[in-house]
């Protein structure tokens, strides 16, 4: 498949935005349960929610560049019963609204206590909204990943590992972003986020590594023999029917040398996982704020390379029909 910049930006920015919201609410939930002190993070949840919302909005804007007819985008909520793309289109604004509400509650302080748990834990409105947002964040991860994972003939994508990757990589980048933000807004809490970010980065590396290993062993199901229905071991395409390009020759081929694709694989393994993990670990050891910013930049760049590779790696069966121009 040809990687489109709009989809690469859409999926990486949305992932980071969702991950950042999950990070913010993870902190609040820990504070609520008394695992950590809520005092250190004063003035963090609101601004961080604004950043998450900005990332989601940027992803949404990027998605419009993928459409031939962006002015009709509103129609895409229609077929949620069958289409994961349609479900994503519904869940994304719902999630953005929830993040907006969550951020507004923290920024304005309008946050009434709704109930008191028997242990004396006060559950305020932002917790309820946060739980809803957490559910929606995971729903959005699943929708985004299933857009790709549900296409059964794109076998590189048709795997539960695709869903695991979208969840873990998005969460990892969001927690890294949260750590970098906390280093500026609430320095005492930066190690909390950095620790989680390190864990998710390592888990993401395991899951992405597993999908790389799986995809390397895939054997194509379709062949030229099944494509044209001729049972002969030796078939050669002489003409694809036209000498110029077409949608079929543009959309489904990345058009890059295999050496470049392989380089991108090693680059993203380095930048999305190895370098951020090392930097996050060094922050946990040293407490330095600069390494968190560096980890964030490296991981976002790495994840964009990862997404590029994700598309380039997928080999569409229609390519069998376009092996020789004339």
């Amino acid at each position: 498949m040809r990687p489109a910049a709009s989809v690469i930006l859409l999926t990486t920015l949305l992932g980071a935005g969702q991950g950042l919201f999950l990070a913010v609410f993870t902190h609040q939930a820990h504070a609520l349960l008394g695992v950590i002190s809520p005092e250190g993070a004063k003035g963090f949840h609101g601004p961080a929610s604004v950043v998450a919302l900005a990332l989601l909005a940027a992803g949404l804007v990027a998605s419009f560049f993928h459409l031939g007819r962006p002015e009709r985008a509103w129609r895409s909520a229609a077929k949620w019963r069958t289409s994961w793309l349609s479900r994503e289109v519904i869940v994304l604004p719902a999630f953005m609204g929830t993040v907006f509400l969550y951020g507004a509650m923290h920024l304005t302080g309008v946050n009434p206590v709704i109930l008191r748990l028997p242990g004396g834990v006060a559950v305020d409105a932002s917790v309820v909204v946060g739980v809803a947002g957490t559910i929606l964040a995971f729903a959005l991860f699943v929708c985004t990943a299933m857009i790709y994972a549900c296409l059964r003939f794109l076998r590189e994508w048709h795997s539960p590992l695709t869903v695991a990757n979208y969840v873990l990589l998005g969460t990892a980048s969001g927690f890294t972003l949260a750590a970098a933000l906390a280093a500026r807004l609430a320095p005492a809490e930066a190690p909390f986020f950095a620790g989680w970010a390190l864990a998710f980065t390592v888990l993401g590396a395991v899951s992405r590594g597993a999908s790389l290993a799986r995809n390397a062993r895939l054997r194509p199901v379709s062949s030229l023999q099944t494509a044209i229905g001729v049972r002969h071991p030796v078939i050669r395409q002489i003409s694809q029917g036209f000498t110029a390009g077409s949608f079929n020759t543009r959309e489904f081929f990345h058009g890059q040398a295999m050496s470049l694709v392989r380089s991108v694989k090693w680059l993203f393994l380095l930048f999305a996982f190895a370098i951020p993990a090392a930097l996050l670990a060094s922050h946990l050891a040293s407490g330095s704020a600069v390494v968190l910013a560096a980890a964030l930049v490296a991981q976002m760049a790495g994840l964009m390379a990862e997404r590029w590779f994700f598309f380039a790696e997928a080999n569409h069966p229609q390519n069998i029909y376009y092996q020789a121009v004339a």
């Binding site: 993928h66 009709r72 379709s222 030229l224 044209i228 001729v230 395409q237 110029a244 229609q318 029909y321």
Partner: protein
């Protein structure tokens, strides 16, 4: 239920591309809007087509055969391109099984083309919506046309009658009979899309002739071992008779 489809006979197709040009001509002038070409007379030309004819060489020289292979939307009975469409622009008609795109609803997200293993859909770069074979839905029901003309443009154009058109759910239709009796097969059956369009394979006509078929064993003229004709040198009837 009706399922209209094409049955394409690879044994007969000569790869003349008449179906391609006829399809383009009909569908670029129809009420659904043009099938535009970009830079049609320049160097980097490109265009949108519903139908292409590809050519394959099967076997190793000198034992090779050329197979011309027309390729268009197969109007799958379980079309994977339809459920993924977020707007419902891509749909399969219940009444005749034709898979269509509503060009007024399509947002050009290309997701349906990803979901089609055959590469049957092409994005129209100028109208920025997905286009595909309609089985000439604007011809086949047009009562203004003579009944024999209510067939897809590609079928009308084929000089060798390699393209048959009809209802594959009607067991007595021409297409059903061709599939049943001539070994019709679907493309990439491994994906379970159940394409409605079928292809008829290349077929060699072999005639086995035995020696006793060349000379009639029970020829009555040979029963008494007499030759039916005069021997060489003897006068024949032609010598004796003036007609």
């Amino acid at each position: 239920m009706t399922q209209l489809a094409l049955v394409i006979d690879l044994n007969v197709c000569v790869g003349c591309h008449a179906c391609v040009t006829s399809c383009k001509e009909w569908n670029t002038s129809g009420e659904a809007g043009p099938l535009p070409d970009t830079n049609a007379y320049g160097e980097m030309y490109a265009g949108t087509f519903f139908n292409r004819v590809q050519t394959y060489e099967v076997g190793c020289y000198p034992a090779t055969e050329t197979v011309h292979f027309p390729k268009s939307c197969l109007h799958c009975e379980d079309p994977p391109c339809v459920p993924v469409c977020p707007t419902g622009a891509s749909y399969k008609r219940k009444e005749d099984g034709i898979v269509l795109v509503d060009y007024d609803k399509c947002i050009g997200c290309k997701y349906c083309s990803w979901a089609c293993p055959y590469g049957a859909r092409e994005l129209d770069d100028q109208n920025r919506v997905m286009k595909k074979c309609t089985l000439c839905v604007d011809r086949i029901y047009d009562t203004g046309l003579a009944p024999q003309d209510r067939r897809p443009a590609c079928v009308m154009a084929c000089p060798t009658s390699a393209r048959l058109f009809g209802d594959i759910h009607d067991p007595e239709s021409e297409v059903s009979r061709a599939i049943r009796e001539e070994g019709g097969y679907p493309l990439m059956p491994e994906w379970g899309t159940h394409p409605a369009n079928h292809y008829l394979p290349r077929r060699k006509t072999h005639v086995r002739i035995h020696a006793d078929e060349l000379e009639r064993a029970d020829n009555p003229l040979k029963v008494d071992r007499q030759q039916p004709r005069p021997a060489k040198g003897e006068p024949t009837l032609d010598d004796a008779v003036t007609w």
